[in-house]
């Protein structure tokens, strides 16, 4: 387990005065201080880690956000920003001496601008609400993380969220034109706007994906696109993962950029089919879902090309969707892969590394060997187009030692991703979860450079403490301020949490959210 930051006792002792001061900034119904209600904010979708904050403020305006941050700046208090709390890496898990700023009340769409092809929205607007707001005119907002019915656009900026369609349409950072940002000292600034690129340093680029460590995004301006006139999907079975991998490489080499290109291995295929009964080929060792979108002429043409490539690479089955209902059925299994796997096991742990595509067969073989060594089953789903792998490790938190084994297995997988030329996280973020693995990918100097960027915005390291940067590193850097608490922290002072990492969606938080 990764340890949560040890709180400052002096701040805990001042809690009554702090709560009183917060009450002067936000209305009474926007302040949460009693233990029962605080429990709703103690974790996010990485439920292994739980910690009640000092208090939760739910500002209704950007001015209130600014006033809260000014107060916290004056008092030296930590801040944890929170959107919908759907992070899979513990990005919104509080610290005991921190104020959580919940941004759900900033939920208005401020402008729909078809002339400049953008939408201006407050940070608490959900991802899907943006697409809904422009759907009548045939537009959509492209990044579509699986939690899009719930996750907020502000959280998407913090995590640089992707989605199954990011192979063709890019991540949040590629679709974001501007933000209003409240700096840790409470100053309200604007980065970008309705124009493209920066006239000076690209601060918007550095804030995107900064996991709540540099400030609070209160408003976004995002690019919207005209919805493609048609979309169809292919379901292709293979007898080997090598065959499926070679087919993916051939599709890419042919210059085809599918809207989605997903792979599942046999355990994932079986779990999904048992759950949704959509006709996945159970004899296949690997399944590809290839989605093509665009004008009907293009989609039909490319469907033919991809089918040919599938045959050439030894596909054991190949089926094209003939209707929108069938296309959605093809996706239903993939989209329910996480909860489906959750039915096989009391708990599962979802990993998120990225590898060069060519390494897929080798990595899958190594994961199978690790699975035997650790005595834990694993199912693999894979954003095959961009090399983003989601192994789901099955375990039972009630069996002594299994949680620790699952975490050790997961860490081995991520180290393997780095070893083959990939990275620790493709889309879920570092958060708490992968913080202590950062030195495996980055040298001390690499991390020091990043920490200096952090200090440019947040010199006292009050924003989202305990996230992204490994604690030993923090210890060395901030020793002058936190020698004792840091020593506690690295001594493993965290409480043993209830629940377990990435607990099966059926049993854990957001059971109704699809995850892929």
């Amino acid at each position: 387990m990764v340890s949560l930051p040890e709180p400052d006792p002096a701040i805990l002792a001042r809690r009554p005065q702090i709560v009183r001061a917060l009450r002067a900034i936000v209305p009474p119904e926007c302040l949460i201080e009693d233990a029962l209600q605080l429990a709703a904010y103690e974790t996010d979708a990485l439920t292994a880690y739980r910690q009640k904050p000092l208090a939760v403020a739910l500002p209704q305006t950007v001015e209130q956000v600014s006033d809260l941050l000014r107060f916290a700046h004056r008092e030296g208090l930590s801040i944890v920003a929170r959107g919908a709390g759907t992070s899979l890496s513990g990005g919104a898990v509080p610290a005991a001496d921190a104020i959580v700023i919940g941004l759900a009340k900033l939920s208005r769409i401020l402008a729909i601008d078809y002339e400049n092809r953008c939408v201006v929205a407050q940070c608490g607007v959900t991802n899907l609400a943006i697409s809904h707001a422009v759907a009548a005119r045939g537009f959509f907002y492209a990044p579509d993380p699986s939690s899009q019915v719930a996750c907020t656009i502000g959280g998407n900026v913090a995590e640089n969220s992707g989605g199954v369609h990011c192979l063709k349409y890019g991540l949040t950072t590629h679709n974001l034109l501007g933000v209003q940002l409240v700096l840790p000292d409470g100053e309200i600034v604007r980065l970008g706007g309705r124009h493209l690129d920066s006239g000076h340093y690209d601060l918007l680029g550095i804030v995107t994906g900064s996991e709540g460590l540099l400030g609070i995004v209160t408003e976004v301006t995002v690019r919207i696109l005209s919805r493609p006139p048609s979309a169809r999907a292919l379901l292709v079975g293979f007898a080997t993962t090598e065959g499926a991998g070679a087919c993916v490489a051939a599709i890419i080499a042919a210059g085809i950029v599918p809207a989605g290109l997903e792979m599942m291995d046999a355990p994932a295929i079986h779990a999904a089919e048992a759950f949704v009964h959509v006709g996945y080929p159970l004899e296949a060792e690997a399944l590809l879902i290839v989605e093509l979108d665009g004008p009907a002429a293009e989609v039909d043409y490319l469907l033919g090309r991809v089918s040919e490539l599938a045959r050439e690479h030894g596909a054991s089955s190949c089926k094209a969707s003939a209707s929108e209902t069938e296309r959605l059925a093809f996706w239903a299994g993939r989209k329910s892969a996480f909860p489906a796997v959750g039915r096989l096991s009391p708990d599962y742990y979802c990993m998120d590394g990225t590898i060069p595509r060519r390494e897929l067969p080798r990595v899958l073989r190594a994961i199978a060997q690790m699975s035997e060594r650790y005595g834990l089953r694993v199912a693999n789903v894979f954003h095959a187009g961009d090399g983003n792998l989601h192994p789901l490790i099955l375990y039972d938190a009630n069996q002594p030692g299994e949680l620790e084994r699952a975490e050790a297995f997961g860490a081995d997988i991520l180290r393997l991703c780095v070893d083959v030329g990939g990275v620790l996280t493709g889309e879920h973020g570092v958060g708490i979860e992968k913080r202590d693995l950062m030195p495996y990918q980055f040298t001390a100097v690499d991390l020091e450079v990043q920490r200096r960027v952090k200090a440019v915005f947040d010199p006292a390291a009050r924003f989202n403490p305990g996230k992204v940067f490994p604690s030993l590193h923090r210890c060395a850097e901030e020793g002058r301020m936190h020698v004792h608490s840091e020593a506690h922290r690295s001594a493993g002072a965290a409480e043993r949490p209830a629940g377990a990492p990435g607990r099966g969606e059926g049993a854990g938080r957001f059971a109704d959210l699809p995850r892929f």
């Binding site: 006239g199 340093y201 601060l203 665009g294 954003h383 440019v456």
Partner: protein, 369 residues
Amino acid sequence: MLRPRDEADVAELIAASTCALEPVAGGSKRGIGRPVEAERLDLSALSGIVDYEPAELVLTARAATPLEALRQALGAHSQRLAFEPPDFTRLLAGAGEPTIGGVLAANHSGPRRITAGAARDHFLGFRAVSGRGERFKAGGRVVKNVTGYDLPKLLAGSWGTLAVLTEVTVRVHPAPEHERTLLLTGLAPAAAVRAMTDALGSACEVSAAAFLPGRGVGLRLEGFVPSVRARAAALLALLGEPDGEWLLGEDSRRFWSAVGAVEPLTAHPIVWRLSVPPGDATGVLERLAPEDYLLDWGGGLIWIGASEADAQRVRGALRGGHATLVKAPREVRAATAVFQPPSGPLAAVTARLKAAFDPSGRLNPGRLS
């Protein structure tokens, strides 16, 4: 002049340097920005492709690798840099060859920027040496990566003021099977912007939209033949132009490389580059009444040719966006804020960022001011 052979040399030279340094690779963009009084750090030895596997759609090269070398390597596999790096050599009447590191350090993107993204969006990772003389890396060699801060975005467009890039990894894309450009002539500026807005807001997937006064509006379609055919018909129907004039193949390519290179404005001593909300293009043109101009990015990029810099007037005409003085005589650049100055608290953030990477101000001091 200092001539490092490799990254270790770069680090040693920066760490040991007692004076300011101007990192130069090909040198083709030395004429952009405030003139720098510094010793030249010639990076031209840091050249060559390190790794390129076409099926992975990524390429790693040392920073001073000429763009032309990249183009040839990519072309052999029918791939390309989708952000369409523009060539300003003629515009700036400069010598030297554009390099991949230079293009990224300037974040220069061509007409396809509106649909394919900017140079920064294709910049996946790097190795570099900071102004402190430290060797470090950031990003990665895969497309999907959220591990740590996105420092490639920060270094893109930082003009060598934060760190010296030594090796870069970029995303590459398959070149399209076919391209063609619809040319609409006889349009006034407002009607031209309207046509570009309609086209870009449609499902026709127009990959570039520009307006050259005297020539007309160009709208480019790229992709597989059946797709381009279908979209061409849809585009003509959308714009109510039953018989549009099409530039095909090489004619289309020449049109867009001229737009990217700002060729119509090369004769002017002063050239401004304005990034604005596309809907503001007409308003900005009315307020500025420029001697000469062209519009790219559907109106979101305005190039202005003039005989006087007049920065206050140019920036005063903007209602959002930024203006860069891309071309001007040295003495004018020395007296003008070439890049849009950050305002309010952002000026302080910008200064602290510079200090975080380069506390003693060794790298390109003043160039971005």
